[in-house]
Structure formats: structure tokens, C-alpha cells
Symmetry: C2
Subunit: 232 residues, 2 copies
DNA sequence: CTCTGGCATATTGTATACAAAATGCAACAG
DNA sequence: CTGTTGCATTTTGTATACAATATGCCAGAG
């Protein structure tokens, strides 16, 4: 069900093209709303239109593209309501991951998480934002892995990609940052105490804060990141 | 984001083929594990291989097919772990839908739901199982609609399709049926009381019961529905 | 008898050619 | 000047042809 089966995963052209396009979208090279010309793109990627169109179907299923019959594909432009909805679902998924993780976590896992937490606090202390993001992601990934649920993992990853396409370097002010780090510490404590309900509440709240930050940054900045970039 | 845009939705061949295949899978015409021969299928459906392959990509993204490079597509065969995981996620999604619905539900909505609940109890009293399933689905759909979250709706529908592919007419014994109807009544009461936490717990519990029923039926019956049907 | 190597066949992967639809522009009517 | 109609061009949709890979069988060695 996870798709990554034994056969070494030799990549086929549609998959490779989809991966490349995914990166272009997330990096903002292909901005929201951009129309994707099949011939042009296929020449740029060095593949024919056939595998490219299969890649389009995959990305459309992931919610990164929208396909209109006879009118081609374009990068999705998320509305504020879409962002709100996506974060709500992410919150529910992370909350579930927390509950499931509690049931399976070992002391060794907790030790490992504590190491990561220490690294995160170090990154926080030295104001190393990239490192913070990296470790933050590691922690959440590890929680999801503990949940041991392939469907959850897959759903989570897909949604995450969609939100990353927003490229929210949401201006993380010092107060919010402090709070986020503190919340992470509380999470690991709840996990160590095998307190699923508390962990779930923490994760949902954590997501809610991130959601608010992103929505705020959407409000403030001009809509360039969301609707713009028709790419003339 | 919902895909159903204004342009009347003229269907294109890949979409039509995907819809047809989806039906064939859910009806069990294409059993789990069945290998899908492109040429053969394209002749049966009356389309060429190109749109058919796009349909494959869509269904694979929905988790109904598995595609192995150079070795074609086959209908997914869910393991017990997959089913467990899918139900866990469904529970979290329904729980979220409940919480969101509480925030938006109107008295008129509740009145409508009470009508459905009455119909459901009537179907239950007269042991009309098809009607029960139909009304059951209507109630859950309406709850999801109240949540007003396109991402949630889309995620829910996809997962639901995957589980329906199991074709679980899970032997609903009288005791379980009684309990399910009672749970439904409690749900609507919680919704009327705007008690999100209770509604969520009820929905999660409801799903957990269904999960157990399906897992039990998987245990008992031979694996025909899950692994079988290589289609010689 | 079993295992290995290689060939014939079948099946999937990709490119290209053709068909159908949409888009943009220009000419014309009002 | 504005709006509309029709045509040329572009773009997407589909089918088909060709290439690459996998599959299955048979022969022969051990």
C-alpha cells in the first residue's frame, strides 16, 4: 500500500517528471495559477507529452495541479478557505499520529526524541532557523513513523506537499518561536508519560498556531503567492 | 480545489475510464490482486491505451491500484494492517467533521437530521438493511457537508472508496445493529447540544466498531476477498 | 532430475502522428 | 466605437507505431 516495493524502484519517466514538477511547484518556480503548456514543458524536461500527461494526473491527484478538460493544467491556487481546511485536516492527522504513537513508543524512542529536542533547543538558542525547521520536521516524521500507519503516513505526506507549495516562510516572530519550542518539549513529555489525550491536544494546538500564522501572512502580504503569477 | 468547476464537467476519456474501472473494482468485478492487461482492458472499454494509462495513474493515486514499473497495474490487495490503518484515519476524519459541524450547524440542519434518524430507525425496525445503509450514508454525508471543508471531504471520499473496494457486507448481527442505531441517536443529540468533544468521541467509537466488524469478517472468511483472484 | 542460459513472445514504456477543441485576431455589421 | 462572427493558429485529446523490458519455454549441461 505504500508503493515502495522491493523492485529497487527503478524510476519511470512519468514518476521522474512528476517528482521534478513537484519540486518546481514547491520551490515556486511554477507559481500558483501558472498554466502548464504540454509541448513547452515536455521539451524542457526532455520527455514526450505522453509521460508528461501521466505526471499531470499524478500531481492533480495530489492536489498540486488542477486539470480543466481541453484547457490544460495549471498550478493550484489555494484560497484562504483551502488553507484553513488543509490545516484542520493536518491537525486531525497529527493528533491521531500522537495517539497511536503513545501505544507503541519505547523508552529508546523517547531517548532518541529527547536528543532531537535538545538539538532543536540548541538551534533555537543560536537562532539557527534552517536547522530548527529541519529538526522540527525530523521530530514530526518520527512521530508519524511511530504511529505505524501507512495510510496515515501517505495522507499526511500528500497534504504536507500541498501546503509546502505555499512556500510559507511564515514570519516566525521570537515569541511564537519560543512558544513552539516549549510546545515541542511538552509533547515529548506527554509521549513519555503515555498520555495520548494530552499529546493529541498539544499537536492539534500546535497545528492551529501554525495555521493562524500562515493565514495571517496570507492576509498581510499581497496575494502574489496565492493567486498571482499567470506567467505571460 | 473540489474539481467540480463551472465548465459543465464534460468528461474526458481518462476520467470516464477511471470511473468505470473504479466501479468494476468496487463491485468486485476486478478482484483484489487482479492484474490489469492494458491492451485487453483498452479493447474492452473501447479506448486506446493512452487514456487508459492516465486512468491507471488516477486510480493508483486513489490507492485502488498498484503500479509496478514495467510490470503493469493490479488491483490493490489490502492487508489487515492496511484496513486497520484506513479505519483509524477515517475515525480521525469523521471526528474532525463532527467538531467542525458543531460550530456551524443550524437548528434547521438538526431538524433535517432528526428526520433522517427517524427514517433510519424505521428501516431498523423493519429490518430493511439496504435502506439502513442508504440512510446511514446520507447522515454521514450530511455531517461532512456541515464541516464545510473541501480537503476533508476529498480525503474522506478517497478513503471511503478504498474501503468500499473491500465489499464488506460485514455481517451486521442484530446486537451490533441495535448499537449502531443507538449511537446515531446519541450523535445527533450531541450535535444538537453543540457538544463537539462528545460528538467526536461517538464518531471515533462508531468507526472503531465498524473497523472491528470488518477485521473480524476478514479473519473468518477465507482470504478470497483480500488476496485472491489472480484471474488466470 | 534439476538448474541454467538463451531465445521467442507478450507486455509495458515512450514517441509521434492525427483529430478535436479552444484561443486569438481580424473583418464586418450595427 | 462596440459587439459579433468566422477563420487561422495553437493547444489539448486520442490513437497508433516503435522501443525496451519482462515472461515463459525449451534445450542442454551438470
Amino acid at each position: 500500500m505504500d508503493g515502495s516495493t522491493l523492485p529497487i524502484a527503478r524510476s519511470t519517466l512519468p514518476e521522474a517528471a512528476a517528482e521534478r514538477l513537484r519540486a518546481l511547484i514547491i520551490e515556486g518556480e511554477l507559481p500558483p495559477g501558472a498554466k502548464l503548456n504540454e509541448r513547452e514543458l515536455s521539451e524542457q524536461l526532455g520527455v514526450s507529452r505522453t509521460p508528461l500527461r501521466e505526471a499531470f494526473r499524478m500531481l492533480a491527484a495530489d492536489g498540486l495541479l488542477v486539470q480543466l478538460p481541453n484547457r490544460g493544467a495549471q498550478v493550484v491556487a489555494l484560497s484562504a478557505a483551502d488553507v484553513r481546511g488543509a490545516f484542520e485536516v493536518m491537525g486531525a492527522l497529527e493528533g491521531l499520529a500522537g495517539e497511536l504513537a503513545v501505544a507503541r513508543v519505547t523508552d529508546a524512542d523517547i531517548a532518541g526524541l529527547n536528543v532531537l529536542q535538545a538539538e532543536m533547543e540548541a538551534a533555537h538558542a543560536s537562532r539557527d532557523l534552517p536547522a530548527y525547521y529541519r529538526i522540527n520536521r525530523l521530530i514530526h516524521d518520527r512521530l508519524n513513523a511511530l504511529a505505524d500507519n501507512a495510510v496515515l503516513e501517505q495522507t499526511y505526506r500528500t497534504l504536507n506537499a500541498r501546503l509546502h507549495a505555499l512556500r510559507f516562510r511564515s514570519n516566525l516572530n521570537p515569541a511564537k518561536w519560543d512558544q513552539a519550542v516549549a510546545e515541542h518539549r511538552a509533547m515529548i513529555e506527554a509521549l513519555a508519560a503515555r498520555d495520548g489525550a494530552t499529546l493529541r491536544d498539544l499537536l492539534v494546538g500546535h497545528l492551529r498556531a501554525k495555521q493562524q500564522a500562515v493565514l495571517d501572512s496570507m492576509e498581510n502580504k499581497d496575494d502574489k503567492n496565492l493567486q498571482g503569477g499567470k506567467v505571460p
